[in-house]
């Protein structure tokens, strides 16, 4: 009996989550990186809380972008290296579905973890509690967008020996709008101005990449598979 699309999607997501939780060290690395990088800033800037608070949104966002990038490299590479990617590609489900499921699972274990950890970091950086909702919402949208952008980069660099740096060079310029609007939204929320405009922009970017990136990533991956 044939397997439905939703069923197959759920199965691939389960596979990815199962694999992630078998390797807790790799699962926690981006999160610990995020915590450490953001902790370094208050130490470096010492006692000027006002300066720290001004810089906080930028620091938070740059750290979040970099830590998400850490794990993107392995998105398709580990499957390509052991041959399981070929099995997935020949599963009869279409490569796009596989790409969507894998990227979504990647966001679940990295993006969502960052969002949940962000209030701790925000407190350390002196961001007031009133801005937490905006900050978490913008980080959620931003990390999801970044996972999609990263999927394109990971698809392109999957065949390379040391694709990690190249992946960053491809993805980071594309992530600039995220940084501008994401940090902007958080900044506005801190100073008590409505962040709605910036959040709408982030949401638009998120929808844009969610709809187009799966196809771009599939094509990139198919080329790399050959």
């Amino acid at each position: 009996m044939n397997v439905g699309t939703l069923e197959a999607f759920a199965l691939v997501v389960r596979r990815e989550l199962c694999l992630s939780f078998r390797r807790p060290d790799q699962l926690l690395q981006p999160l610990v990186f995020f915590l450490i990088v953001t902790t370094l800033f208050p130490l470096g800037l010492s006692l000027q809380l006002s300066l720290l608070r001004d810089m906080a949104p930028g620091v938070l966002w740059v750290a979040a972008l970099l830590s998400s990038l850490l794990s993107l490299d392995a998105l398709f590479k580990s499957d390509a290296d052991d041959g399981t990617l070929e099995q997935l590609a020949l599963s009869g489900q279409g490569l796009t579905l596989i790409v969507v499921a894998k990227t979504f699972a990647h966001w679940l274990v990295t993006g969502v973890a960052l969002v949940l950890a962000s209030p701790v970091v925000a407190t350390a950086l002196g961001i007031p509690g009133s801005a937490f909702t905006t900050m978490m919402l913008s980080l959620g949208l931003g990390t999801l967008t970044l996972s999609w952008l990263g999927a394109i980069g990971a698809g392109l660099t999957v065949g390379l020996r040391r694709g990690n740096v190249l992946l960053s060079l491809i993805v980071l310029p594309l992530a600039m709008p995220l940084l501008i609007f994401g940090a902007g939204a958080t900044d506005r929320a801190i100073s008590g101005v409505s962040p709605t405009g910036a959040l709408y922009f982030l949401a638009a970017l998120c929808v844009f990449t969610c709809t187009l990136a799966p196809f771009a990533a599939t094509v990139a991956l198919r080329i790399s598979l050959e």
Binding site: L19, R22, L90
Partner: protein, 209 residues
């Protein structure tokens, strides 16, 4: 003109890898109840040919057809009908043998855990079902990969050097599995260096340098 309307047909496939002309106009056809043994020295494009047949690699010239239609136009049906075993066992080291099978076969068709255990038993690795693939020996991994092919219930088997790392008993086992698959109406394309001792309608294609 190729007569392969019913099964698999490959016509005049050319592949270049950089300056190297790897496949020089390879043609073959495969019908149900047939086995095609692909042989040839290292580096003559046996794996490349198998990847072309799978549809993982698009030929620069020539075409691959399934039931008379180009495979690109019947991709989903074609993939549902084939089981490919690459020369790596393609197992996730962190997953158990059974989980590996469940996540791979589950995308092709609905299977129960008992069915998967059954196919692991047929390849003689039932005892390894719940062990992570990382602790299995190379031969055991090969047997698990074979169990995956069995469990997929596909009519077309594409096997890349399936006898590697198998002991004498494993070689006999695989031969008998191939034999019963072909006798039950399946077809198989097997890349192997040694002679196959299988009593079915078997042809041999030698790829030269």
């Amino acid at each position: 003109m190729n007569t392969a309307v019913e099964g698999l047909g490959v016509e005049g496939v050319h592949i270049w890898r950089g300056d190297r002309h790897v496949l020089k106009g390879v043609s073959l056809s495969l019908q149900p109840r047939q086995l095609l043994h692909i042989a040839g020295p290292n580096g003559t494009g046996k794996t490349t040919l198998l990847r072309v047949v799978c549809g993982l690699l698009r030929p620069e010239q020539g075409r691959v057809s399934w039931l008379g239609k180009p495979i690109a136009s019947v991709r989903a049906e074609y993939q549902a009908a084939l089981a490919y075993a690459s020369h790596e066992p393609a197992l996730k080291a962190d997953l158990t043998a059974l989980e590996n099978l469940r996540f791979a076969v589950g995308l092709k068709r609905r299977v129960t855990v008992d069915e998967l255990r059954g196919s692991l038993e047929r390849t003689g690795v039932a005892a390894c079902s719940d062990l992570p693939a990382r602790v299995l020996s190379a031969g055991q991994r090969r047997r698990v990969a074979m169990a995956r092919v069995l469990a997929m219930g596909a009519s077309l088997w594409l096997l890349d050097e399936p006898f590697t790392n198998l002991d004498a008993a494993g070689t006999d086992l695989l031969s008998s599995l191939l034999q019963s698959h072909v006798e039950q109406g399946g077809a198989a394309l097997v890349v192997a260096h040694q002679d196959l001792k299988i009593d079915v309608d078997m042809r041999r294609l030698d790829l030269g340098p």
